[in-house]
Symmetry: C2
Subunit: 284 residues, 2 copies
């Protein structure tokens, strides 16, 4: 018995095609959709991420604006760039690629973004709207994971969901989205200080592993038939591996996201969704 | 065997006396602390709440400003009042007493408050900072409950905390505060759609009941020795009762807050704490 594979590739393609339709519909109304990125410094990984966002934006029919500041930029220069994009009517969504180099304060830079243009959904105002269940722009990775649940029609109501990891990028907003009215999972927020984690995971109908430790969750810790969402992308000697030990988990789980080809592809798709949503809201 | 009673009266007195000391210290530096309330309409319960906030502010040595608008005020008039208080240097913290009457939009009114003056800690920006673990002004009721844990030195690290109820006033911010780094509880966010709730509560070291149903949690559903925080204030034919059946719970729990005399007193105390914190930050 082997778990159903939840394909991030398949879901991301669906999401991106829907985004492209919405971009085209806006174009017919005379409204272009523009996504801007701000990259500070020369971090190769950040450059790769930024390029993939531009590629996705262009494929969706968006304008894409690539702003690159030198690593020795001042905080003021970074925030001035953000403010000029806030004021630019061609920019509907923007991303400040984190982390910022050196002593630059990423939090302050993100807080400078107009919440209505916050494509990452990480501005405190937008995170607060997630708490209030009124968010339009949601943190991209958990939002992308919700699309996987919707696409595969995975029931969530009354299910016990154990989320491992409490980052503000994934774990915490994921807990809020899965526990929201209408989604209605009962959510356990676990983390590195959780005791007897396996006791909890063995009760879980849904597991979201986002703790950044290779092969941390083993099949023996799963309830048979559980839905397993693996957010981990860990570089090891064996290549990229997730936070879930896939080989053992696939024999126990009912459904599982692979690494790569799973959640990783959803983040950029959800970013594109945020950008077109921001554009729609800007003319609503 | 009977549980320790966690006295909101005792903890609130300690918190309020610390607040009074901080107000006095600011006064020595030439800074007064001002708390403003905005009450719209004539709801008797709201009037009682507002009066108790003014009494607490005055006892702590704060200036207190009582603004009363008629029930037929427009949204614009309510928001103009908030904006004038945002601009008033004598006002460090403000409270818009919810709910607003009629069709007035309480969310929009709250979002008009300068987050730096948000004594209730309910502005989306401040709720987002709770997600980010960087909040200075926290939602008052959960913040007051944290003071109970601190005062009685109740261990939280690695403990399993089941929170029943997912309101943005209590349940959700409570989950975030108990699961934050340094507090480190493993948090279960349960709610009206949770199945087999008793299975979860029987595993819980800590229970926070905030679901608004009289005597909803029974002693038989508790783990012996559990810490029980009862946020409910339900008016019944038998008088005020909590969300926990006190008589049965007190025989099983290790510690429990009574109703009244428990959490209810902490909310106003935590509001006062927010007001003086806002004043301190305004001159920092």
């Amino acid at each position: 018995m082997s778990a159903q594979i939840l394909s991030g590739k398949e879901v991301a393609a669906v999401v991106r095609s829907r985004v492209a339709d919405r971009v085209a519909a806006l174009k017919e109304r005379g409204k272009s959709v523009g996504l801007a990125t701000v990259l500070v410094g020369e971090d190769p990984a950040s450059e790769v991420y930024v390029r993939s966002k531009h590629r996705a934006a262009e494929k969706a029919g968006m304008l894409s604006f690539d702003h690159h500041l030198p690593a020795d930029s001042t905080q003021q220069e970074v925030e001035d760039m953000v403010r000029s994009l806030n004021a630019d009517p061609e920019v509907d969504g923007m991303i400040v690629q984190l982390p910022l180099p050196g002593d630059l304060d990423g939090n302050k830079a993100v807080e400078t973004i107009d919440p209505a243009k916050d494509a990452d959904g990480l501005h405190p105002f937008n995170l607060g709207l997630v708490v209030l269940e009124r968010a339009r722009l949601q943190p991209a990775t958990p939002s992308g994971i919700m699309r996987i649940f919707e696409h595969y029609e995975i029931p969530t109501q009354g299910k016990l969901a154990v989320i491992i990891g409490r980052s503000f990028l994934v774990g915490k907003p994921m807990a809020l989205l899965l526990g929201a009215k209408g989604v209605d999972a009962t959510v356990v927020q676990a983390h590195s200080r959780t005791r007897n984690l396996a006791e909890l995971t063995r009760q879980a109908d849904i597991i979201v592993a986002a703790i950044g430790r290779p092969n941390f969750v083993h099949g023996s810790q799963l309830k048979p038939g559980a839905v397993v969402i693996d957010v981990g992308i860990n570089r090891t000697d064996d290549g990229l591996v997730g936070d879930v030990d896939f080989e053992s988990a696939v024999e126990v789980a009912g459904a599982i996201t692979p690494v790569p080809g799973g959640v990783g592809l959803m983040t950029v798709a959800a970013l594109m969704e945020n950008a077109v949503t921001a554009a729609e809201l800007s003319i609503a």
